[in-house]
């Protein structure tokens, strides 16, 4: 099987050609403002240099931070109708209540709060207000709003309120994009609603972007299906992914972690990706990034959904070093490293200069850092190593030693020995680990639900069946499904031995196999 993986980063667009489990070719090109041109160039170079038959490519996977950047930079967002179902509960805290004002001003269109929703045990809070929903839908049609986010109380346990609302919206507003919270978030109404409204605000951009990606692919002569990589290290077909842009928010670091796993042949390890301005640390658990189970802020909005558990440090090759008193970062010269660092003839002392002076890497003009005091170089390097060691240890969830896979352009900063780490693994193609991670992605399904009066094992088995059904409907081959995550949390104050259980499964894309 031949796959192409493309990772669109802030600085570079990387592309790799994977033949079976071998990296056949890799290219790095600058990212362009419109994203698509960079992808076209990367694809063109990859195809030309590898001389692969373009019709022999089975799938193309793209990972992009385009949608996260849109939120952070407040651009490309559309106005949405927010529908909350749950009155009389939750009345005092309407949708957008905890959004930054500037972002809310761009995304908030109409707000509708209606009776309905459920209790934790499945009873309705109040009968669903279908007449009110119909009035709201007509109002949405009049205003010309093209995207709606629907959130009902406890919809992860009973989605029927959101389903009824979506049905009415589809009847009354042809062409309206509908984002339902039950498909996107976890228990925690405001955080799940926030994810849903972000998603609704991005679907227009996602449609346009995906269409451009498909166009770029068609222009290159490749006939294979296009997939977009997700936060959890899996992929969705481009048309499906365009409905859920929030699910690719963190696909960059996720793809690095997955690529590191693939290149090192490890499935339980810590991963560190050291870039130019920052370092991401994650944990590899059964070959996938461990998920965050806490609130993650995106562009100032609190969210709780499928995101990798990452620790980001302001440390990279371009990080500024101050001599007296010694300080590493948090400032960085960023993409100007090749003009501003001492070894490149600039006037700023950076982490790269320290690494060159210490002989860790040979870059630029070594003579330009010869005069740095040896004591400063040793002290700075000691501080950098301590930062990395402590941060890696923070992200470990097991007391035993684990291997650490070091990837990224700045991975020379990772010392050979760290407390709690059995060995540091360096891999070939580490500079394009993220594109490799995109190329190998599989399909997943997840269930997160409260079970009552069930033994723990029975609750997990039920959740697993639900997760498997969802994976299959997303395009997974049922015979390849494996459980990658099981988590359970007993719930205080609920009667009858309540257990919240979350299970996630993955499988290969149907009709193909990742290995030849």
């Amino acid at each position: 099987m031949r796959r192409v993986g493309i990772d669109v980063g802030g600085t570079n667009t990387d592309a790799v050609l994977l033949e079976g489990d071998r990296v056949a070719h890799a290219v790095k090109t600058p990212t362009t403002a419109d994203v698509t041109t960079g992808i076209e160039r990367a694809l063109a170079r990859l195809l030309e240099e590898s001389r692969v038959d373009r019709r022999a490519i089975d799938a193309v996977m793209i990972g992009t931070t385009h949608f996260t950047n849109a939120v952070v930079e407040r651009r490309g967002l559309t106005r949405v109708a927010a529908v909350r179902i749950g009155l009389p509960a939750s009345a005092s805290l309407p949708p957008f209540i905890d959004w930054p004002t500037d972002l809310a001003a761009l995304v908030r269109g109409e707000i509708f709060m209606l009776a309905g929703g459920h209790e934790y045990d499945g009873r309705p809070i109040a009968p669903f207000d279908s007449a009110g929903m119909r009035r709201a839908a007509r109002r949405i049609r009049e205003t010309g709003i093209r995207s709606a986010g629907v959130t009902a109380i406890f919809s992860p346990l009973d989605p029927s309120g959101e389903e009824q609302a979506a049905l009415i919206l589809r009847e009354e507003c042809p062409g309206l994009a509908i984002s339902c919270s039950r498909d996107l978030g976890r228990i925690g109404l405001l955080e799940r609603e926030n994810v849903t409204l972000l998603n609704a605000g991005l679907v227009d951009l996602a449609r346009r972007t995906t269409r451009a990606f498909v166009g770029a692919l068609g222009g290159s002569g490749i006939t294979a299906d296009l997939y977009i990589t997700q936060n959890d290290g899996t992929v969705l077909r481009a048309e499906a992914a365009a409905k859920h842009p929030v699910y690719s928010f963190a696909s960059g670091p996720t793809n690095s972690i997955r690529g590191a796993a693939f290149l090192s042949r490890l499935d339980q390890a810590m991963v560190i990706d050291v870039g130019g301005t920052s370092t991401d640390i994650g944990a590899l658990h059964h070959g996938f990034p461990r998920e965050a189970n806490n609130v993650v802020e995106i562009g100032g909005v609190r969210t709780l959904f499928r995101m990798p558990d990452l620790l980001s440090l302001a440390l990279g090759g371009g990080t500024l070093v101050r001599a007296d008193p010694l300080a590493i970062g948090p400032g960085s010269v960023g993409y100007q490293l090749t003009t501003r660092a001492l070894v490149f003839g600039g006037g700023d002392l950076t982490v790269t200069d320290i690494a060159v002076a210490a002989g860790l890497i040979d870059l630029g003009d070594r003579d330009r850092v010869a005069s740095l005091p040896a004591r400063l170089v040793t002290a700075a390097l000691g501080r950098i190593h301590a930062m990395i060691e402590e941060s890696v240890d923070r992200m470990k969830t097991d007391a035993g030693d684990l291997p650490l896979v070091a990837v990224g352009g700045g991975s020379f900063l990772v010392p050979e020995r760290l407390t709690g780490i059995s060995r540091v693994v360096r891999v070939p193609h580490q500079a394009v680990a993220n594109a490799v991670g995109a190329a190998i992605a599989q399909v997943s399904g997840e269930a997160d639900q409260i079970f009552q009066n069930l033994e723990r094992d029975d609750a997990i088995a039920q959740a697993r069946r639900l997760a498997e059904a969802r994976a299959v409907s997303a395009g997974a081959d049922p015979s390849t499904l494996t459980v990658v995550e099981v988590e359970d949390l007993p719930i205080a104050y609920l009667p009858g031995n309540s257990l919240r259980t979350r299970v996630r499964v993955v499988g290969d894309i149907r009709g193909s196999s990742p290995q030849q």
Binding site: A89, S92, I97, Y120, I153, F154, I187, I491, L494, R500
Partner: protein
């Protein structure tokens, strides 16, 4: 303090942080209540804080709290109108107007509930509560320790449901009856406890705990702004002690009889390297053992805080790998009397330990 003073929103922000720390791992996050108060203040409401010493002996004081499962609260949210209805229902039953409103527990989200009710009902909030922290059950209050009457109680939900517990044989019966009603309405309800007279509040309340929570939160915010150690700021401001610094190495939780019970273990870092600390919790942290020997126990306040940010860590959110510091804050004196310890000492939580204060040694 002045008899009545307006509390600015900035102090409400501090209150939310301080209350979460005084929650000693439980009490529920004050975040949703804080959002409500930001909205009420944005609409022009300002709540006043009342010095309890200025209450007349026969003034009536409402004692309010939200009860239920924090997880349900994350979906159903919390609403000032509901807590206000619990108060007005009590006024209808007793036929007497409340002079002021106070909190049942200053630890966690319930520190802010009286402010939400007060904003709608235009009454002051009494500076005080009856726990001085968070505890899981109704009989764990200074009013119960003083054997005050525990009824009537009003319980309302977001719909037009209301329950009056007219009488109860004991505080434990009151807990049982109100808990049953709470489960029936979806495991989240707003309550107004037995009305207290000004005299009872002055004699039996835990006074000035609201100011204390505002002070603690203010110390944390000030330390963060100045890039100083927020935990040191709390300990210095409140006469607390740092008990242990380490990394969470194991967490074990189970839900039994409607409570979240379990343990968290920390491996020492820095000066505590080589030592191990185990914390047991029942919603809130109850006992801490240093290398197997009891070191700190309820009712003294055991707070687990993120070593760097100074954020309080809850028993529902503590997890492996966190860099955390255990601190102890003094308990209100009433809780460590012989009668107090019967209600909230280690034996009340099933630990066969003689209470020993960390502040005595």
């Amino acid at each position: 303090m002045t008899p009545l003073r307006a509390v600015p929103l900035d102090e409400i922000e501090s209150l939310a942080i301080g209350a979460w720390i005084l929650g000693t791992g439980g009490g529920g996050s004050p975040y949703l209540a804080l959002l409500n108060l930001r909205k009420l203040y944005a609409a022009g409401k300002v709540v006043s804080l009342m010095d309890p010493a200025t209450l007349a002996d026969d003034d009536q004081v409402a004692v309010v709290s939200n009860m239920g499962a924090p997880l349900v609260g994350q979906e159903r949210l919390t609403d000032p109108a509901t807590i206000a209805r619990a108060v007005t229902l009590m006024e209808e039953i007793t036929g007497r107007r409340f002079r002021a409103i106070m909190s049942l527990e200053i630890g966690g989200g319930n520190a802010l509930q009286p402010f939400m009710a007060a904003a709608l009902l235009d009454r002051p909030v009494v500076d005080g509560d009856c726990m001085g922290r968070a505890f899981p059950e109704a009989q764990m209050t200074s009013f119960a320790i003083h054997d005050l009457c525990m009824y009537p109680l009003t319980l309302v939900d977001v719909r037009n449901n209301a329950v009056i517990v007219a009488r109860a044989e004991s505080w434990k019966w009151m807990e049982r009856l109100s808990r049953t009603a709470c489960v029936a309405v979806g495991s989240i309800a707003s309550t107004c406890k037995a009305p207290r007279t000004g005299k009872e509040v002055k004699a039996c309340g835990i006074l000035y705990s609201t100011s204390k929570a505002i002070r603690i939160g203010g110390a944390v915010r000030e330390a963060r702004r100045a890039h100083r150690d927020p935990i040191g700021a709390v300990v210095d401001a409140e006469g607390g002690v740092v008990i242990f610094r380490g990394k969470v190495s194991d967490v074990n939780r189970r839900a039994t009889e409607g409570f979240l019970r379990g343990t968290a273990t920390l491996d020492g870092l820095g000066e505590d390297r080589g030592a191990s600390f185990r914390l047991a919790f029942q919603n809130e942290f109850a006992v801490g053992w240093l290398d197997g020997a009891p070191r700190v126990m309820t009712p003294e306040l055991i707070c687990l805080m993120d070593t760097v940010s100074g954020d309080a860590i809850g028993t529902e959110t503590v997890r492996y790998g966190q860099r955390a510091t255990v601190i102890a804050l003094p308990a209100p004196p009433i809780l460590t009397t012989a009668k107090g310890l019967e209600h909230v000492g280690p034996r009340a939580f099933g630990y066969d330990l003689e209470f020993r204060s960390v502040f005595a040694s």
